[in-house]
């Protein structure tokens, strides 16, 4: 994995803002895999994932001139924000155009669970567990955990109520805790 750090990254950004294609390619090579992982937590279908990533990167490079480099990590955070916004837009569009009822609410099948120990569970396995969450739960979970939004912000972004956001996060957490516990049991047996 390529890494751009400090002044090198700043210089690359400046070149890309000036229209340097090589600089844009460098940014793509450095962050595309990371952004693909972020995007796949929201949009699981491969065809949708490709479309969202393409639209996101086009917006990134079209608006790169508006980005102000403020140190290491600022570019990564800005890129992730653009991708997440694009993924949420796709979810909202899908919700509007879907002829099938888009289920944000699931029957309450989970009971209270204790915290599960995530320690030895591979990141890929956790990623798959997150992808297996229902669409509504998954969006709330991702926004709360990875984007560190509060329930009011999540409710505004997803067009739901705060109480719905809180209950879906609770259910998503419970599902993940159960899955992690089951995974650890299987590994112990194995």
């Amino acid at each position: 994995m390529k890494v751009l750090t400090g002044d090198i990254e700043k210089r690359v950004v400046e070149l890309a803002q000036a229209g340097d294609r090589d600089a844009m390619k460098q940014i793509y090579d450095c962050y595309s895999r990371y952004l693909a992982a972020v995007c796949s937590r929201y949009v699981t279908a491969p065809s949708e994932l490709r479309d969202v990533l393409q639209d996101a990167f086009v917006k990134i490079f079209d608006n790169l001139h508006r980005f102000e480099y403020r140190g290491e990590g600022s570019l990564r955070a800005w890129l992730r924000q653009v991708v997440v916004n694009e993924a949420l837009r796709r979810l909202r569009d899908r919700k509007k155009s879907s002829t099938v009822e888009y289920r944000w609410e699931m029957p309450d099948m989970e009971s209270e669970s204790d915290d599960a120990d995530v320690g030895e569970v591979p990141p890929g396995v956790i990623q798959d567990m997150i992808k297996e969450l229902p669409d509504g739960y998954r969006a709330v979970f991702n926004l709360y955990v990875f984007e560190e939004k509060n329930h009011r912000e999540i409710a505004s972004l997803l067009g739901i109520t705060e109480s719905t956001s809180a209950s879906q996060l609770h259910r998503a957490r419970a599902i993940l805790a159960r899955k992690i516990t089951e995974y650890r049991k299987r590994k112990e047996i194995d």
Binding site: M1, A18, G19, R21, M24, K25, Y28, S32, R33, Y34, A36, A37, S40, P46, L49, R50, L53, Q54, F57, V58, F61, D62, H65, R66, E68, D115, A116, V118, G119, V121, P123, G124, I126, Q127, Y144, V145, F146, E148, R173, L176, A177, I180
Partner: protein, 431 residues
């Protein structure tokens, strides 16, 4: 965030996945690469000059458009000649109906000095009866007879509807003007019923106050003013001289009212601003603003005399505003702004013109001084056309509140401290 969720976040922080095949090629074909900056620099001078010409044209257009904020004030005054002494005639013509006498208010003891000659004192060239000021007094045509004392000159003003003042007693002090004949100055007729018609002599003095205040005030005691031409008492008395005849009360309809019309035009402001961004939304801006305040005060007395004053104040101000962008498009930006400004008057000119029967008889120009700073606060919404990356032309309608600067100059800000404001100009944004 609880422990489990926090652990998940940390574990997934650097997780990556494979990218779909051919994604970069699709991205490159869709990205519109901006033009090299060299080309932008090459066209800048041409763009600057075009924008400058457009800004000048916009200023000219705005200056030629009047949006008056009318303030119409009509005041009826009791006019008087202040401090003017007219000599009494030493040899009064018995046939003359003009009587020159000193008149004072019944409760004015300051002029209570005895004398044998009447003179026109500090009051009365022209009088008017103003409704509401006379306390409902009627104006009888014929006053009652007056019996004059040897060393006193009395004018009895009697009216059945005037319960307060049944007699105005005056004493005539001696002056150096005693014996002068002013009868020819008055318009008079043999029957004593014609009253002299005087033009208002204090119009100029009164109007000078309009420079500092937009309202003229009436401060005269009406009881001392309601006299016009003297009239015959009907007595065939050789001792009844011109000076001794009572003066007739003049109907108010014959006295022209003084009308003052004040117009404050909508302020015009042009600004050059520079903005420093905190982030994509918030920023602070400052610059220089040039504001022009125009006012026109027109005073008319009857159908003859008109005085027109055009006042123009120019302010240079330094605004400091916070702004929040809620739409940052490539071509257009929308934002909200609020802050304050301190302005200094750098030019204050009053152009004075007098007209008599629609003919200009005089004109002059005076500079006045407005020393205090003018402080204001404002808030507004703005739209900016982003001509270049950091350069735009903006139009910002909003509200402003101007605090009283304590000066005597009347402007639209004094009458409408909270008012609509339109600002347009150029803005440079810095990161």
């Amino acid at each position: 965030m609880d422990r489990m969720l926090d652990s998940i976040k940390k574990k997934m922080d650097s997780y990556e996945e494979s990218v779909p095949e051919g994604l970069w090629d699709d991205i490159v074909s869709s990205v519109s690469v901006p033009e090299p900056s060299r080309k932008r620099v090459a066209i800048m001078p041409w763009v600057w000059s075009t924008l400058a010409a457009a800004a000048v044209a916009a200023v000219v257009v705005f200056l030629s458009v009047n949006h008056p904020s009318d303030t119409l004030q009509t005041i009826s005054d009791n006019l008087s000649v202040v401090g003017q002494d007219n000599p009494a005639t030493s040899q009064p013509n018995p046939s003359s109906s003009v009587q020159i006498e000193e008149v004072r208010a019944a409760d004015d003891d300051h002029c209570a000095e005895k004398g044998s000659q009447a003179r026109l004192g500090s009051l009365v060239a022209q009088a008017t009866v103003v409704e509401g000021d006379v306390q409902g007094h009627d104006v009888p045509d014929e006053p009652e007879e007056v019996e004059l004392a040897e060393d006193e000159t009395r004018v009895a003003v009697e009216s059945d509807s005037d319960p307060v003042d049944s007699e105005i007693l005056r004493s005539v002090p001696h002056t150096s003007h005693d014996g002068e004949d002013w009868s020819g100055r008055m318009s008079a007729s043999a029957d004593g019923r014609h009253r002299p018609s005087f033009l208002p002599e204090s119009a100029g003095a009164v109007f000078s106050g309009a420079l500092t205040q937009s309202q003229m005030e009436s401060v005269f005691d009406p009881k001392s003013l309601y006299h016009g031409a003297p009239q015959s008492s009907g007595k065939d008395d050789e001792q009844e001289t011109v000076q001794n005849r009572p003066l007739r009360k003049v109907p108010a309809s014959r006295i022209p009212a003084v009308t003052t019309d004040t117009k404050h035009y909508r302020p015009i402001r042009v600004a050059a601003m520079a903005r420093w961004k905190f982030n994509d939304i918030l920023g602070v801006e400052s610059g220089v603003a040039w504001t022009i305040l125009n006012s026109k005060i027109t005073t008319s007395s009857g159908d003859l005399t008109t005085t027109e004053d055009k006042q123009q104040l120019q302010y240079i101000g330094i605004p400091i505003n916070l702004s929040a962008s809620f739409l940052n498009g490539r071509a257009v930006s929308l934002y909200a702004s609020g802050g304050g400004m301190a302005e200094k008057c750098v030019s204050a000119v009053v152009r004075h013109r007098e007209y008599v029967s629609d003919s200009k008889v005089s004109s002059s120009s005076d500079r006045i001084s407005v020393d205090p700073l003018l402080w204001s606060v404002n808030a507004g919404l703005g739209v900016q056309a982003n001509v270049m990356e950091r350069f735009g032309i903006f139009l910002e309608p909003g509200l402003s509140y101007h605090f009283n600067d304590g000066s005597d100059v009347q402007t639209i800000y004094k009458e409408h401290p909270l008012d609509f404001m339109m600002t347009f100009g150029l803005r440079v944004s810095f990161r």
